[in-house]
Subunit: 384 residues, 2 copies
């Protein structure tokens, strides 16, 4: 009998019954105690790992840069921007030296800045390849936002450039460093849901280019490389892969876009897709740019289901596990997924080790996204 409860005691009792107490309670501990491939604490380092932030848009300035203050091993030491005023203001806030502010034109001079260990590219997707390659050529490790790039060729060029430079390349899949998501993966792997049968994942939002400057590039194909699927459907796709732990063998997709809506002259609105995995597990996902926000998934097993809603938000995640007896709302401390991701990148830079979400992970999603577009366009399943 599962009790519906927010209390940690009830949750622990449930976990004990499921024989998962020891392993899983660790996940419920303080932020940073990430059991699944995330960074272990670094030994005392001589100095923090220095990051250059390329692109000072809304996401960078409002979500990601503040997380440096909660990271253990990371420091912003350089800024790259086309807006000198904004860069100077942020440089003061984050203690960045004036000489470490770069424009996009003189970005390559960063090779002479020994304080910069990692370049974090936070530009629209179509610009990722150029700046990742230039960063690698400047001898820096690279962290790039997702989607990695709009084409397989660009992704491959990014991977090759970093390999040639002997530098690490990581794609910023923050949800893979978020404690609720890691706990969900752990529960599925340990069989807490029984045999996994299918996953549903829904990601959507209103794209508002006329009222939100941060959305302007999102409706321009040559900058975004695609519509809702590239931008947020990728969360449904990536979740389907990390929840199942498998790689899909077939995708089927249906698109629906109102092309009279001025937002959708170039990019798509809705893409719904089903992934078939080798085990027989299916993942059925939705992605949309014309709805009130949703970021959720549910994993359905033979004995129980696990619901995370929101699943991939910045905060206020909510996990519910249900079986024939009822539902349990789990209680867990929110962790700073941005800080955990940055600390992992720092560790990989310092030890020159392959990140948990390397360029190859980004490339896999891009290949699948392109196959989903192909399936929707051709009206048939596409083998991958």
């Amino acid at each position: 009998m599962i009790n519906s409860s927010n209390h940690t005691d009830s949750r622990r009792q449930f976990l004990r019954q499921a024989g998962l107490a020891a392993a899983t309670v660790a996940v419920a501990g303080p932020a940073g105690a990430l059991p699944l491939g995330a960074a272990a604490p670094l030994a005392d380092s001589p100095r923090k790992v220095g990051f250059a932030i390329v692109g000072l848009g809304k996401y960078a300035t409002e979500q990601m840069m503040p997380a440096f203050k909660e990271s253990k091993h990371c420091k912003i030491v350089a800024l790259v921007s086309g807006s000198p005023d904004k860069a100077q203001r942020l440089a003061q806030e984050y203690g960045v030296e004036a000489k470490s502010i770069y424009s996009y034109q003189d970005f390559d001079r960063i090779k002479d800045n020994p304080a910069v260990d990692v370049v974090y590219v936070v530009l629209p997707p179509a610009l990722h390849a150029e700046y990742v390659v230039r960063a690698a050529q400047a001898g820096k490790h690279v962290l790039t936002e997702k989607p990695m790039a709009p084409s397989v060729a660009e992704c491959q060029r990014m991977i090759d450039a970093c390999r040639k430079a002997g530098k690490q390349l990581m794609v910023a899949y923050r949800a893979q460093f978020e404690p609720f998501n890691l706990d969900a993966i752990a529960r599925i792997r340990k069989g807490e849901l029984g045999k996994l049968r299918f996953v549903t994942a829904d990601h959507g939002r209103q794209v508002s280019p006329t009222t939100d400057k941060a959305d302007e590039w999102r409706v321009v194909q040559k900058l975004a490389g695609g519509g809702s699927l590239m931008d947020i459907g990728i969360y449904s796709l990536n979740a389907a892969r990390y929840l199942t732990g498998e790689e899909p063998v077939e995708v089927s997709a249906t698109e629906s876009t109102d092309r009279t809506d001025p937002r959708f002259k170039e990019v798509e609105d809705q893409v719904h897709f089903t992934l078939r995995f080798p085990s027989g597990v299916l993942a059925t996902c939705t992605s949309a740019y014309s709805i009130e926000g949703v970021k959720r998934f549910r994993a359905f097993g033979s004995k129980a289901y696990l619901d995370l809603d929101p699943a991939t938000d910045y905060y206020r995640h909510r996990m519910v596990i249900g079986n024939a007896d009822g539902e349990l709302t789990t209680s867990m401390k929110e962790g700073n997924q941005f800080a955990a991701m940055l600390d992992h990148m720092a560790e990989c830079a310092q030890q020159n080790k392959t990140p948990k979400t390397p360029g190859e992970e980004g490339l896999r999603d891009i290949k699948l996204i392109l196959a989903i577009y192909e399936s929707a366009k051709k009206g048939r399943p596409v083998k991958v």
Copy 2:
């Protein structure tokens, strides 16, 4: 600002803000106040409408027959069963005369029983056509369980037989008489979610033929006519239609069945499908026989979403409406959907008027189910 709350006051406040107070509060009233095409109270009738129950399985005896006690205008007056002992016991419980107990062989004698107005067929789907046709030929109105029948030809034969007899034929879509579902439809039609963009619906359960006698026929193709899609996926399908208020023009489907599982030698396990509606709305649905139970849907609009989970259970429905400001859990009295459906059938029998869910409604779902199977088999979208 929407407050998360179970209190009716908060809900009323929300409704007022949405300008829906007058119309929708009626829905939140006592069971039976069904605003959307359901039966209006009958004038005082000289006697209750008499029903014959054909098939005394678990669903009939545990869910549906007890609901007669809560109906206003219906009475069980005859039983048709292959188990005389069971029939006699139930006859005593429901006050049915011994002479009004029939076997399947002598069922046609029911034409001479003037107490029987309506025959309610609660047999496995493959037997519906035979008993609906025999009931019509006996001069009775007919209510039949869903799915209507495994083939279009059988559905058409049922419709034709009732038309020829001048009798009404209704398919027992109980969710279309359930107050939460009716409220969801009303909210969508009134634009409370903004412009409807897509629907997701998930229905699944563990089919357990070795431990639950009621599941034995469900894994036999010649009785069930199909697997999870026919039995419970039909709730996802029907909900997609009544929530959108449209008829789909295209279906795309993916099937996944472990044929080494002895339950699935004849019928399918999972079918996931997407319906495309003329307005551009999509409905993405799942159906499965190998998971812990789920019966839920969510409608996604441009301004808000509406979640019903469970959506199509017998009781304990839960509606949540969410927008950019938060979520509202609505509070509403549970109504007896079975009794509401039976009273609607009684009204249609007395007034000889077309039911809200006539044979044509059942036929539409069967055509779509067969198109979904075809799409999954051929690996391409099917126009409907």
